[in-house]
Amino acid sequence: MMQLSVNGEPVRIEADPATPLLWILREQLGLTGTKYGCGKALCGACTVHIDGNAVRSCSFPVAAARGRQVTTIEGLSHGRSHPVQAWIREQVPQCGYCQSGMIMAVSALLAANRAPTDADIDAAVTNICRCGTYERIRKAVHTAAALATRAGS
């Protein structure tokens, strides 16, 4: 039995401890916002936050999440985070499948760097988007940073 916190709620998980956190979130907890894209930490669609840090959950065994705080895209959207607002304002997604992971990666970037440059964005945002929404993602990161600055947060 493993206990962790997901989006602020305590949960108890019974599963093979080696199960990737991704599948626990999606199936045991029904939080399907976090996506499966590659299973090899190559694409970033599975990105969540663990204790505030971006982690690719397809490569993270649930046992390692014991006692830790997991935040998924569903948890992030409470209170309409700045990346989420910016993503809507800039109409970023096309198919949208990669965007949960993208937003989680970007929010981790913005938490550590309030005004990322294009070079910072290049280094931090390696998630794959097959629809190619990168131009708008870049713009939305700048927009989110500006929104956060205006909000004084």
Partner: protein, 208 residues
């Protein structure tokens, strides 16, 4: 590689290092050098130094193996694979060797190898700092970097302990890649490597 914590009293450490540096700075000849002018006391010392340096040379294939060298780079990024290609996905060193802000090493690398995803892991996975870059160094330079206090170098007595840390041990159990293929390990066993290192230190840790 992290985990090098100079231990012991500063002055004792300085003395030990001074001793090693003094030994290291003595020009050594190879055992096979013939035709050198015969100086009876020097040739006995140089024979001992040659044997010590030769031990280091036996350690080199481990230090230069991709499992070690891929993180002891002199670049702004890690390397991966036996062909030592640049780590894919634009992964970069970051300011502190733990990855760029927003793409820390810990985003993908956890404290143990993940068989399912093929991502290798060890506790606190990150790059050796540039001061500990081994890439592009000659054996002689690499040897000196190991113990250079300006580069966070170890004291010789601490070397063996360091070789038991998780990063070093990882090189011998590096797991499988994303396609299930086992990663290659250094050409001698960890045990043999540690034994070599002890002997090398015991013989004065002489650099070639």
């Amino acid at each position: 590689m992290s985990g090098r914590r100079p231990a012991g009293h500063p002055s004792a450490r300085a003395a030990a290092l001074a001793c090693v540096m003094a030994l290291a700075s003595v020009p050594t000849g190879r055992a096979a050098d013939v035709g050198e002018p015969a100086h009876a006391p020097a040739s006995a010392a140089s024979a001992r130094e040659s044997r010590s340096a030769a031990l280091f040379e036996q350690m080199l294939p481990v230090l230069e193996h991709p499992r070690c060298m891929n993180c002891h780079t002199n670049t702004g990024f890690p390397r991966q694979g036996d062909d030592r290609h640049r780590h894919i996905m634009n992964v970069s060193r970051g300011a502190d060797g733990h990855g760029a802000v927003g793409l820390r090493c810990s985003t993908c690398h956890q404290s143990g190898n993940q068989a399912a995803s093929g991502v290798p892991g060890a506790p606190d996975w990150h790059l050796a700092p540039l001061s500990m870059a081994w890439e592009g160094l000659t054996p002689s330079q690499l040897c000196r970097v190991l113990f250079d206090p300006r580069k966070g170098g170890l004291e010789p007595a601490g070397l063996a302990a360091h070789l038991e840390t998780s990063f070093v041990r990882w090189a011998w159990s590096p797991g499988t890649d994303a396609h299930g293929r086992p990663r290659s390990t250094p050409p001698i066993s960890h045990r043999a490597f540690v034994a070599l290192a002890r002997r090398w230190v015991a013989t004065g840790a002489v650099c070639p």
